[in-house]
């Protein structure tokens, strides 16, 4: 009898701080258990940059702040059976979404960039320009939660979620028995 095929997992960091990927590594010795059951395909952890196989699970860190994020997220949705939003940034925009509601501003994105590159105190920007190299992905008007761009199947809350919460959720998903979280383990921070 052949061994059952390992589940394929892909991960991506969109508008996040990589803290949620650090949290994946934070599973510590559980990673050894997990790696008996999964292989990592497209991910910053493997440096594989495009899908060559369909994946069972896709894990997204961060929401969408630029057009490349949207492109990657849609690519994940097309290529993954179960799509997970990992962490508050993916779930509701998180810290980057602070730019969506700049106080008293009708153009929050412009105000945010001007303060960051031109008018803010202690800025040394010799060009006095907002970066606009054509190689840079176009910024979106707002930071969008993943669920506003594609359908999300599972959300793992936290900033970042603990290694245990991630391990338990993934294990149960692999068993086909995921039915939510223990309420005591939920954190939004």
């Amino acid at each position: 009898m052949t061994e059952p095929r390992k589940a394929r997992v892909a991960t991506a960091s969109l508008a996040g701080c990589f803290g949620c990927h650090m949290a994946i590594l934070d599973m510590d010795e559980h990673l050894i258990d997990l790696m008996q059951r999964v292989e990592i395909h497209r991910s910053p952890l493997t440096d594989i940059k495009s899908f060559r196989h369909r994946c069972d699970i896709g894990i997204i860190e961060g929401g969408c702040c630029n057009e490349e994020n949207v492109h990657v997220l849609r690519d994940f949705r097309r290529n993954c059976d179960v799509l997970i939003a990992l962490g508050q940034c993916a779930i509701m925009g998180g810290l980057p979404a602070m730019r969506n509601a700049v106080m008293h501003s009708d153009a929050p994105l412009r105000e945010c960039l001007e303060e960051a590159y031109i008018t803010g105190r202690d800025i040394r920007n010799v060009t006095h320009n907002i970066p606009n190299d054509p190689a840079l992905p176009l910024l979106l008007d707002k930071v969008y939660p993943c669920s506003e761009v594609v359908e999300i199947d599972v959300q793992i809350p936290g900033c970042a979620p603990t290694g245990d919460v991630i391990f338990n959720a993934l294990s149960k998903l692999l068993d086909g028995k995921f039915d939510g979280f223990e309420r005591e383990s939920i954190r939004f921070d």
Binding site: G93, A97, P145, S147, E151, C159, F181, R183, I186, F188
Partner: protein, 237 residues
């Protein structure tokens, strides 16, 4: 002795005449979720998170008089689902960035979300309002992005402090809490007001300056169990 009896989820509760369902439940150590109600303040019946079914009819437990011989349902999947929807809408109506909020871990809205299992992918759009922060007062700041219009500060200021510093303005979706002056510094609010005490504002809107993040992770309210899990112990006190 005057009094009456009714049951909540099969548990018999004794009530004094004039008590609300929630008051009687609290005295018996049965927790009913709530946001706009706060011990020591007049009941408002605004948030509806305390909705229970009394003989099959939805009522606000914080304002409904305890009903003689009634059958009250509290913790049912259906009721908790409705409560979760209400709490979810409160998250969507303001700007709730828990990871950067000084109330995180000590916030009743967040604690209610934990209790009610608010982790599924969202079905509501985020309103993302642009609301002001008022940091004019030397000791108190207001971040109205997190205000859930529960009115607890309004009642505390009016009824206990006798000041009327907070009040509702506007109508419908535009109704919000404002201060009685151009900003907080131009009111007679002081840090000793009950209205600005740590327990009155359930969220991170009324901020006492220079005390944020003083309780480390692991020692905050939410680290000691779900909100309401100490109801029995509180009733026994």
């Amino acid at each position: 002795m005057s009094g009456l009896r009714f049951e909540i989820d099969g548990v018999e509760i004794a009530a004094r005449d004039g008590q609300t369902i929630m008051e009687a439940a609290d005295a018996a150590g049965v927790y009913i979720p709530r946001l706009c109600d706060h011990e020591g303040l007049r009941h408002q019946g605004g948030c509806r998170v305390c909705t229970v079914k009394c003989n099959g009819r939805s009522v606000a437990a914080c304002t409904e008089p305890a009903p003689p011989d009634a059958v009250v349902e509290n913790e049912t999947p259906h009721i908790n689902k409705m409560r979760r929807d209400l709490v979810e809408m409160l998250f969507h109506e303001g700007n709730h960035l828990c990871p950067i909020c000084e109330a995180s871990g000590n916030c009743e809205l967040q604690a209610m979300a934990y209790r009610l299992d608010m982790t599924d992918p969202t079905r509501f759009p985020y309103l993302e309002p642009c609301r002001p922060v008022d940091a004019s007062h030397p000791d108190i700041a207001l971040d109205t992005n997190r205000c859930i219009s529960c009115g607890r500060c309004i009642r505390a200021s009016q009824d206990i402090d006798g000041k009327g510093i907070f009040g509702y303005v506007g109508r419908g979706i535009h109704r919000h809490v404002a201060v009685n002056g151009p900003d907080l510094a131009h009111t007679d609010a002081t840090i000793d007001d009950v209205a600005v005490s740590a327990d009155v504002c359930p969220v991170g809107c009324i901020i006492r300056k220079r005390v944020g993040f003083s309780r480390p992770i692991g020692e905050r309210d939410s680290d000691h169990g779900l909100i309401g899990s100490n109801a029995k112990a509180k009733a026994d006190d």
